[in-house]
């Protein structure tokens, strides 16, 4: 992917929060601790992590809801902190970059009808609209007939319907980039599939970029794009969907993939599942050196002291683990898993 097509660029961004921890003591939560990534035009970029990985914070930083404590975020080449100061440019940013949130039950104002919720973006940006425009937005996300939904209140709708309205609202101003923070984690399985299809369709039709933040790794297999794996505030591996699922290098990625429960346990027994032990570390006191070393089956003594750097494997695939690069090139996923099980 060439540099000219980069829509949003995150460069070495850090975000810390100060929390009180007892009398006069303050702890620093290192939510995001040095993350760099690029979102290209017309692509789907997934950010995967468990709780405490910092992925939601990263999402908020990307849409400008939070300001980074270090590093910078560039939108179409311009630093966000500079865009913020120029009213015109900031308004444009707010039109072109949108966000869909996780919880469908709180993502709509309970006192506003669907009509009011959808027309708000037009009003804020002073763009003329009519009822037909709103109904078109509803049809685009599959809520038909639109006239049924237009005057409903959130409590009259199901979780899946509310989530679709959030997506519809994000689409009203024809954005270039939408960040979705766990868009389906609160929804039932059959609705997840519908939203998945919807997102794929919209991305292809509107040619926009999607950043999908999720902990539901299996769900992301269906998207063809880039996946960044986050652990404890940093990115540990990044690659195309294919590379991450079929050729993962980082021990955490392999552990994650092994944690996915297969639908058919017979398949699981064939694969010989390996369970990652231990817990994700707290973002307050990350372990020294490589953050993953306490849980890592292939850790070496150096891992306690040396913080690993991102190393490029192929054009799109990079990983922050020198040990993996030593052991794994030209091996299959099964043999990597068996190396783990032997070392664990």
């Amino acid at each position: 992917m060439e540099n000219e097509n980069i829509l949003l660029s995150v460069k070495d961004v850090k975000k810390y929060y100060i929390v009180k921890a007892g009398f006069l003591k303050k702890d620093t939560v290192r939510a995001v601790d040095g993350v760099s990534l690029n979102v290209h035009e017309n692509t789907i970029h997934c950010i995967v992590g468990e709780s405490g990985s910092g992925k939601s914070t990263l999402g908020r930083l990307m849409v400008g809801l939070e300001k980074p404590d270090a590093g910078a975020i560039y939108y179409r080449g311009e630093d966000l902190s500079k865009i913020r100061k120029i009213k015109e440019k900031w308004k444009t940013f707010r039109r072109e970059v949108q966000m869909v949130f996780q919880n469908p039950y709180f993502s709509m104002n309970p006192r506003s009808t669907v009509k009011e919720t959808l027309s708000k973006p037009f009003k804020v940006h002073k763009i003329k609209y009519d009822e037909a425009d709103l109904e078109r937005c509803l049809s685009e996300v599959g809520l038909t007939p639109p006239s049924y939904y237009i005057n409903k209140y959130p409590h009259e709708l199901s979780g899946g319907e509310r989530q679709r309205i959030s997506i519809a609202r994000a689409l009203t101003l024809k954005p270039r980039l939408i960040v979705l923070d766990e868009p389906t984690s609160q929804l039932d399985v059959s609705i997840k599939v519908q939203i998945l299809d919807l997102l794929k369709k919209l991305q292809a039709e509107e040619k926009l970029s999607l950043v999908i933040i999720s902990h539901e790794l299996p769900f992301l297999k269906a998207f063809k794009g880039t996946i960044s794996i986050m652990y404890n505030g940093i990115i540990v591996e990044e690659g195309t969907t294919d590379e991450i699922f079929n050729d993962p290098y980082h021990p955490y990625t392999i552990g994650l993939l092994n944690s996915i429960l297969e639908l058919n346990p017979e398949d699981a027994k064939e694969k010989g599942i390996f369970t990652l032990e231990g817990e994700p570390p707290s973002p307050i006191n990350p372990p020294p050196g490589c953050r993953f070393h306490p849980r890592c089956p292939i850790a070496e003594p150096n891992c306690k002291t040396n913080t690993p750097q991102m190393i490029q494997i192929t054009k799109n695939h990079k990983v922050a683990c020198p040990i993996a690069l030593k052991l794994f090139p030209n091996t299959t996923l099964e043999s990597r898993t068996s190396i783990y099980k032997s070392q664990a």
């Binding site: 908020r60 849409v63 400008g64 809801l65 900031w90 308004k91 707010r94 039109r95 970059v97 949108q98 966000m99 949130f101 996780q102 919880n103 709180f106 993502s107 709509m108 104002n109 309970p110 006192r111 708000k120 973006p121 804020v124 940006h125 959030s166 609202r169 101003l173």
Partner: protein, 271 residues
Amino acid sequence: MRIRLNKRFIIQSAALAFLFFLGFFSSIICPRDPLKPGYSPGLTPPSPTFPMGTDQLGRDVFSWVLCGIRVAFYVGVTATLLCFAIALIVGAIAGFYGGIIDQILMRLTDLMMSIPRFVLIVVFAILFGSNINNLILIIGGLSWPRLARVIRGEVLSLKEREFVLSAKVIGCSDLDILFSEILPNTIPTILPLLSLQMAHSVIDEVGISFLGFGDPEVPSWGRLIALGRAAIFAGGWWVLIWPCIVCAIFLLLINLLADTLNDILNPRTQG
């Protein structure tokens, strides 16, 4: 707003509305000038001419009680509106912006809450004059801290809700977010409190007038009750009882309505 019409609400609002109309039209319905003495030689018990009797100076108790309703509504509503305006500004700004502004405003609120309020009302009434409008200013101006605290709490909790963040991402200005997203969602909590504040304001004014610091030109129940206290010794129970009963009914209705509003707007989830 979805106030489901339930029986209790209709009955209570109707009763209060009835009292309101009595007060509103009191100047027309009122048979006599309540503050004018001399309609009778002195303390007269209730009779067909004087349904609630007269006081020591021959003033018609019934007219006083009736016109007192208007006074009560006037004080209740205006003082509450003033109180709400101040509490809204303080609470919303403190909750929304946080940081130093929040700290300063909250310490100010704490300070005001620590001073005995009623004493201060009396002192200000003496200092600045006990004209009824002054009283309203004083009462409203000293009752806002508790409400401000609640508003701040509500704003704080709503500020991080996803629909508010969603509005931010769309590009809404702070003021827009505050008024169209956050504040409307505080109504269920605030409305019942405002009703209660109305009752408190009336009690404050009645108390001040009872102590003799109220507006002498206004037929407040408080002053009548004070007269009644003296009249009891001369056997004039009617001067005391009637204003007490009507005042009690008035306050009871407001409190009940506040409760009903709370039940409607904040339904307790039943499983």
